[in-house]
Structure formats: structure tokens, C-alpha cells
């Protein structure tokens, strides 16, 4: 029996590929398996090949496999495009409707998916028939899927539930009768532990909600829109508001306005939107407004590859605005990390009164994976330095002076007074300003204010800026970020099996860049490989820029729109020895 396998469904976009994959993944997650699901799709609603690959295992993996065990094909295109990666002796389940043909190295099961579905009541139930067929191949009890179906269709009435269950059962029996249950693709049973199953975007939205974010102006863009769509559903219960703005410029400025007003506010976008937000991000830096910006990176430049994986906004995230401002840039790695990073991001924004950019990448944002339950009590809300009316009444007897919003302090942090606070009236301006926020071009003031803003992080490394796992004094240390955690982890395991000692360093904070910790984390390795989804090696450049040194650094790059597979990294490293 197998401890892990890979199942893939493919077909024309819009014909149920996504829902079939989703139901399959959710059902297996509920049985206690670890599931990792990654969807390939195009920037269109109908038509074009799309597929959803689901990896099921008894231990956690954070990426897809390089092969498929079972391929479910809704059209011949899927077989032509995807059967090549099906293992020798693997299974293809295909709809009889299109008279499928498949290469010799696979077992082809031609199943009347559509016909059975029609007999049960409707052709759209072919996804249920195919789930039943899959259950039979994988040796899963039929209840794996029928339970999910009962819950999902409960509201549509018993008849619908019964029809769908019948469709599953008929698909299951067809494969059993055809001998498809004896092919050694049976999965070892899982322990039934209930965990969460979600994508990074879900976790970001939940994290924002838990962190007290209550205003989210945003403009729809792939792959970020899920965050606003989720919160539009959830905010009414907590008095929050999502505004779909006219563009990203408005989104960013509105986020700033709400932060100024005292709300925890944020926006979410992808590369093109981030570019439009840059001027306003500079304003947030200049006026010391705590705002959080999620950038779910996708293939650039310009419209680029809007539905494909890339990590090419590092420079724009770190250095994008004009002039020089304080900024924090985080890059979580998993849904758990996304959730807790949002809490961290809002606290950091409030503490340091500056923009915080939370980078993700398309693979992290959209791939759904098994996730340990989140703990609300681990999310603390710390609003930083706030001047309340009571404090102001005590501290500032009527002097006639305005509140010094930009008071020069040792830390560079000065208390904020929210509009509406008696005694807190002050000015805010993107023009260089004095302590009370009035425009000032005075030379000494300019120097003081630049240093106030830019020195907030002097010598500071944020806790948890990176993690390191694996061997000490390794032959190779592999440095990565974002969703590449999974491929790197697995590549390290395989390299060890092949006698190459390896460590995995995962960078979580890009600003303030953790120079010392990273230097330390890389220094015992003979070689360093920087793994990143871009063409120019942006992270590699950051090492040089910030002065992290190592005599043997090379870049393992991927910019074809696809996610890294363990084998990409494994082969790259092997090629070095």
C-alpha cells in the first residue's frame, strides 16, 4: 500500500475540473491525509486546458510531485498533454464520450462518465462518477466522497444528494468490475485527524481578520482577489468594510486614509497593482502611516503571466517608491505562516509606523494544502504608540501649540493621535515637515526627519527572519523563499539519500534584511544555492547589496511560469558536484 500518491484531473477550463479537484482534495483531507493541491489554469473563464494536481500523503509535503499516479481525463487534450508524466503502469481514467486513446505505459480505463451521470439525472454529475472511479482505484471507502457530498448538497434536498451518491457508487463499481482496484494504487489508511485545508490567500484573509483589520480598499487582480472576496463575506459580522475601488491608486490612498483615521487597514494586489501604488506607499512612508500591503506575486513584467508562478517583485517591493522611506517586507512560506504573518505585519506597522509589504507568490497564494488549525490566542494586537484624549489632556496643558505628531525621539517613533481626538490636532503632509507636521524645508529639520524615519530599524533584525533546517557543515546550503519551501525541503532529502549533505535556509523577512543571521546561517556551507522564481536572481543580488558574503554562491532560477519541483533543485545541485 502507498504512503503517498499523485492524482490529477484535467479538462477544458470551466467544465468542472476545479470542483472535481476540490471535492477530491477536501474529502481526503478529512480522512486525515496531508493534501497539496495545485491548479494550472489560464487567464480566461471558459476553454483552454486546465488541471488540478492533488498530492496525497501520510506526512506533510509542501509541493507537487514530478509524476502522476492517476490521471482523470475529461478530454483527449488532457491525455495528450499530461499522460507523459504518468508513471509506468499508472492509471488514466477517461470519459468514453471522446473515444480516448492513451500511451502504452499506462492502464487506460474508459468509463462512461457522462452516460452514467445522465442516467443518474444530469451530465454535470460526471465529476461524481469520476470521484467514485478514483475511490475504487485508490482503495478508498466510498464514504470518503459520499459524506462530503451529503454535506455539500444537503441544502439542495435529499433527491439531489441521492442522485450524486448514486453517481459516485456507479463510478466506483464500474472500475471494480473492470479490475481497476487491483493495481497497487491503494493508499494506506490515514489516522482521521481533522486539519484545515486552505490556500495561502485564505490564511492571509483570516490573519487580517484576527489581527483586527477592518478596512480593506482593493482592486481585483489575480491572484490576490480571494482575499477581498473572503473578507466581503466575513466583515459584516465584525463591522468591517471592503471597498472595491476604481483602481489600485485609490486603494492605496484609501488604505492610508483609513490608517490615518485609526483603523487597521490594508490592501492586497499583485505586481501591476503594486506598481500603481508606489507613489502612495511613499506617502505612507513619509507620513509614517501604518499600512499593510499584500503583494501576491505572479509572472511579470506588464500583464506577463497572470496565472503563473513567479517571485520577481522583490526589488519593487523593497525599493519601489521614489525617495527613501522606512519599510518592512515579509515573505511567509506556508498558510500557517501567512496567517500569523498578518498579525505580525499589523503589529509591526503600528509599532514602526511605516508600510509593511507582505509578499507571497502565486503558488503559495493559490495552492491549497493541509494546514494545522490556527490559534487565535497566539495573535496579539498591539497598536503601538497612541496618544489618547485623556493622555493629551494630562500631558499638554493648554499651551496653544499643536500636537507634535512627528516629535523627534531616540527611537524615531512618535505617538499618533487619531483625528477626532481632542487636543491632538496636527497636520500631516507628504511635504517634508517639522515636528508638528507643518511643511518645512529647513536644512537641519530635513536631516533630522530623514534620520528619524530611516533609522527606525538601525541595527534591528526582526525575530524569526529565517529558519534553517538540515545538516550542519553541509556541502550545500539552499536558500529559498515563499512557496519554494516544499521543493527545497524535498530536494534536500533526496540529496542526502544520494550522499550530499544539505541545509535549507528559508528567508521570511526581506526588510530589515537579516544580514547577521543570514551570514551565520550560510557560513558553514561549502556551497550556497539561491533558489528563486525569477530570471535575474533578485535575492542573490540582495545578498550582495546587504553585504552577506560567501565564496561559492550560485543561482538556481526558474522563470517559465512553473513552480519548482524537487527534481529541478536536486538536478541543479548534483550538477555542481
Amino acid at each position: 500500500m502507498l504512503e503517498q500518491l499523485s492524482w490529477k484531473v484535467g479538462g477544458l477550463q470551466g467544465e468542472g475540473v476545479e470542483s472535481t479537484g476540490e471535492t477530491f482534495a477536501v474529502a481526503l483531507n478529512r480522512r486525515g491525509y496531508y493534501v497539496y493541491s495545485f491548479r494550472q489554469f489560464s487567464s480566461r473563464i471558459k476553454g483552454g486546458h486546465s488541471n488540478d494536481k492533488v498530492r496525497v500523503s501520510l506526512k506533510q509535503f509542501r509541493t507537487s510531485t514530478d509524476y502522476t499516479d492517476v490521471l482523470l481525463a475529461f478530454d483527449q487534450d488532457t491525455i495528450d498533454l499530461e499522460a507523459g508524466e504518468v508513471r509506468n503502469g499508472g492509471v488514466v481514467i477517461a470519459d468514453e464520450k471522446f473515444n480516448p486513446t492513451a500511451p502504452d505505459h499506462v492502464h487506460l480505463f474508459t468509463v462512461p462518465l457522462t452516460r452514467i451521470a445522465e442516467d443518474c439525472g444530469s451530465a454535470i454529475m460526471k465529476n461524481m462518477v469520476s470521484l467514485g472511479a478514483s475511490a475504487a482505484v485508490l482503495g478508498l471507502p466510498i464514504e470518503t466522497f459520499t459524506e462530503v457530498v451529503e454535506e455539500r448538497f444537503h441544502r439542495k434536498g435529499q433527491k439531489v444528494v441521492d442522485q450524486n451518491i448514486e453517481a459516485i457508487r456507479l463510478g466506483y463499481e464500474f472500475i471494480k468490475d473492470a479490475g481497476g482496484s487491483n493495481l497497487e494504487f491503494a493508499l494506506k489508511p490515514a489516522d482521521g485527524t481533522r486539519r484545515l485545508f486552505m490556500m495561502g490567500n485564505d490564511a492571509l484573509a483570516l490573519g487580517a481578520l484576527a489581527a483586527g483589520a477592518r478596512v480593506m480598499p482593493a482592486y481585483p487582480i489575480t491572484p490576490a482577489s480571494d482575499v477581498m472576496e473572503y473578507l466581503i463575506k466575513k466583515f459584516p459580522k465584525v463591522g468591517g468594510v471592503v471597498v472595491q475601488t476604481e483602481d489600485e491608486i485609490a486603494a492605496m490612498n484609501m488604505t492610508i486614509g483609513a490608517a490615518y483615521g485609526g483603523a487597521r487597514s490594508f490592501t492586497a494586489t499583485s505586481g501591476p497593482g503594486l506598481a500603481l501604488m508606489m507613489e502612495a506607499i511613499g506617502l505612507a512612508g513619509m507620513t509614517e502611516m501604518p499600512v499593510v500591503i499584500i503583494d501576491t506575486q505572479r509572472g511579470g513584467p506588464s500583464t506577463g503571466l497572470p496565472t503563473k508562478q513567479e517571485q520577481s517583485d522583490l526589488f519593487s517591493g523593497l525599493f519601489g517608491t521614489h525617495g527613501e522611506i522606512p519599510k518592512i517586507v515579509l515573505f511567509p512560506t506556508t498558510p500557517e505562516d501567512c496567517f500569523y504573518s498578518m498579525g505580525e505585519a499589523f503589529n509591526l506597522a503600528d509599532k514602526y509606523q511605516c508600510p509593511v509589504i507582505v509578499l507571497t507568490d502565486l503558488q503559495l497564494s493559490l495552492s491549497k494544502q493541509t494546514t494545522e488549525p490556527f490559534q487565535l490566542d497566539k495573535v496579539t494586537i498591539d497598536r503601538g504608540s497612541i496618544a489618547t484624549a485623556d493622555m493629551l489632556a494630562q500631558e499638554r496643558p493648554a499651551s496653544g501649540e499643536e500636537f507634535k505628531r512627528y516629535l523627534l525621539t531616540d527611537t524615531g517613533i512618535s505617538p499618533r493621535a487619531f483625528p477626532g481626538t481632542r487636543g491632538g490636532i496636527h497636520k500631516v503632509t507628504g511635504v517634508e515637515h517639522s515636528e508638528d507636521g507643518r511643511p518645512s524645508e529647513a536644512v537641519t529639520n530635513r536631516k533630522n526627519m530623514m534620520e528619524k524615519r530611516l533609522n527606525k530599524f538601525q541595527g534591528i533584525e526582526l525575530p524569526g527572519s529565517l529558519t534553517r533546517t538540515g545538516d550542519t557543515n553541509p556541502q550545500v546550503a539552499i536558500l529559498g523563499m515563499g512557496a519554494n519551501i516544499g521543493a527545497i525541503e524535498e530536494a534536500c532529502e533526496r540529496l542526502r539519500e544520494e550522499g550530499i549533505t544539505a541545509a535549507h535556509v528559508q528567508l521570511r523577512t526581506l526588510l530589515p534584511f537579516p544580514v547577521q543571521t543570514l551570514q551565520q546561517a550560510l557560513s558553514d556551507a561549502k556551497y550556497v544555492v539561491v533558489v528563486e522564481n525569477n530570471a535575474t536572481g533578485q535575492l542573490r543580488h540582495l545578498l550582495s547589496h546587504f553585504g552577506v558574503e560567501h565564496p561559492q554562491i550560485s543561482s538556481c532560477l526558474k522563470y517559465d511560469g512553473l513552480a519548482f519541483l524537487p527534481t529541478d533543485i536536486q538536478q541543479f545541485v548534483k550538477g555542481m558536484f
Partner: protein, 290 residues
């Protein structure tokens, strides 16, 4: 609490406007309107963008935010969402509002948040020293139209009506009494309001002068039987006067503003709410992913 007077809205900053600039009257009118409505300075925020007139947020004793060019309205709306108890006034020039910021203007009208937008419309770019603006007339000569403007001017009132505005007024810097009254009504109107003010630039615009406006403006206050509740009459009047009319052009108080329609939006401002999420709601949310 002592009664507020216009003095409470004054600070010690001297505007860097040229002597004779129309914006002085707009500033004074806003201050008078706020005092006569009995607002407390700390309950008011003035949000502005870039341009000579954009400096106005620094010249009124209230909370003030001076952002980037053309984006006063998004900032003002964000602020209003965070604290719906505030009186939020956005202010700026015709370049800020109808060139770089036009997109935001049209959508702010459509969105209809309770924000008052006051535009100081001088038909010229002053701060950058004399380029034509989106409200400069065809044929107008300026540094960037040396042989005369070959583009047509936008008519702000027409745009506003076109976008479905519920409160539209125009004033003139020389008629402070009318302007104060219009600003008062605009602030009191629940929803988005525009007060477009003809506010001459005495330095760079030698065409659209005080005399020009005095001679060409039609004051609706003097028009017998003008019905400011009729959108059709408003549009007709704006077209007939080519936008050169002052007074209350259109008002509709029968539509809910944005805030009142946000599902679950509370009367307590977001800025004053307890942000801690209840464990029950959190558990309910997580269940959907199990």
C-alpha cells in the same frame, strides 16, 4: 463646552497664496461654515492634494492631511470609513480634481460617501507656474498652449451630474455669503457633495479674472422659480450657462449614503471599536476549512 466661533478654526499659519488669490475667501468660508454649524475643530478633518489650493488643509485649525497629487478623495473616503463621526472635507484645485484625480472624482460621486468636496477652480495651474488646466477654455493661451488650447474644457458640474451626484453647488470667491451657505448645506447633506468654486488666480490667469466671472456667471439665487430638486433642470441650466452658474444647482436627499448601506457597518466608528475577534466567530470561520 463653549460655543465655537470662526476663530477656533484659525491657526497661525500664513497661507503662501498670492495677495488677491480667490482661495483666501474659500478658506474663510469653510471656517465660517464650520463655526456656524457648531463643529468642534477636533471633529473636523480637511484632506487635500497638491497645488496652491491643496495647501488649504494646513491653514484651518482642524485635523489636516496633505497627500499626493490628485488623491485627496480616496484618502478622505478612507478616513471617513475609519471614523464615520468625523466631518470630512476634501479640498483642492481643478487640476487635482479634474485632471489627475478625475477618475476618483467620478467614482466618489458614484460611491456616495458622506464627504464634502470643495474645488477651487481657477482654470489654470498656479503652483507649476501657468500651464493650462482641464477647465481652461478652448483657445486659452498658457505656457503649454502658446498658440491657444486645442482641447476642450471639462464642465465639472456636468461631469458631476453625469456621474449621478446628489448635492451639487457652485460658488464664487467674491460672494462669500453665498459660499458659506453652500458649504454649510454641503456638509449637512448626507452623502457626497461637490462645491465647485470659481476662485481666480490673479498671477497666471489673465482671462478668467474676478471681472470675467462677475460678468459671465448666472447666479441661480436670482433666478425665479429655479428648481434645484430637478436633475433635468439642473443639467439644462449647466449646459445653457456652459457651467458658469452659481448657487445650489441640484440636491437630492432621498438616497442613502454609502456608509448606511455597508452590511454590518456599526454606528460606533471603526477607530473606536474593540478589534479583538471573538473566539466563536473565529472557530466558525475555521470550520469552513475543515
Amino acid at each position: 463646552m463653549a460655543t465655537v466661533t470662526v476663530k477656533d478654526f484659525r491657526n497661525d499659519v500664513r497661507p503662501n497664496w498670492c495677495p488677491g488669490c480667490g482661495d483666501f475667501s474659500v478658506q474663510a468660508s469653510i471656517q465660517r461654515a464650520l463655526a456656524s454649524l457648531g463643529k468642534q475643530p477636533h471633529e473636523v478633518a480637511v484632506i487635500s492634494g497638491i497645488g496652491c489650493s491643496g495647501r488649504i488643509s494646513g491653514y484651518i485649525n482642524a485635523y489636516g492631511f496633505h497627500g499626493v497629487h490628485g488623491r485627496a478623495l480616496p484618502v478622505a473616503q478612507g478616513l471617513k470609513l475609519a471614523n464615520r463621526d468625523l466631518t470630512v472635507i476634501a479640498a483642492g484645485g481643478d487640476g487635482d480634481g479634474f485632471a489627475i484625480g478625475l477618475n476618483h472624482f467620478m467614482h466618489s460621486v458614484r460611491r456616495n460617501m458622506d464627504v464634502t468636496y470643495i474645488v477651487m477652480d481657477n482654470h489654470i495651474y498656479g503652483l507649476t507656474k501657468g500651464q493650462h488646466s482641464p477647465t481652461s477654455a478652448h483657445g486659452f493661451t498658457a505656457k503649454t498652449t502658446p498658440t491657444g488650447n486645442i482641447e476642450n474644457a471639462v464642465v465639472p458640474a456636468q461631469l458631476a451630474l453625469g456621474a449621478g451626484i446628489d448635492f451639487l453647488a457652485q460658488g464664487f470667491s467674491s460672494d462669500v455669503n453665498q459660499l458659506v451657505s453652500l458649504i454649510e448645506q454641503a456638509i449637512q447633506h448626507k452623502g457626497f457633495s461637490l462645491v465647485n468654486v470659481f476662485s481666480p488666480c490673479v498671477t497666471y490667469n489673465k482671462v478668467n479674472t474676478y471681472d470675467f466671472f462677475r460678468e459671465n456667471i448666472v447666479n441661480l439665487d436670482n433666478l425665479d422659480g429655479y428648481d434645484s430638486t430637478s436633475r433635468v433642470e439642473a443639467m439644462k441650466t449647466v449646459i445653457e450657462t456652459e457651467g458658469l452658474c452659481t448657487g445650489l444647482i441640484y440636491r437630492n436627499d432621498n438616497r442613502q449614503d454609502f456608509e448606511d448601506q455597508i452590511p454590518g457597518y456599526l454606528t460606533t466608528p471603526i477607530a473606536q471599536q474593540n478589534l479583538q475577534l471573538s473566539p466563536e466567530i473565529f472557530a466558525e470561520n475555521l470550520k469552513e476549512f475543515a
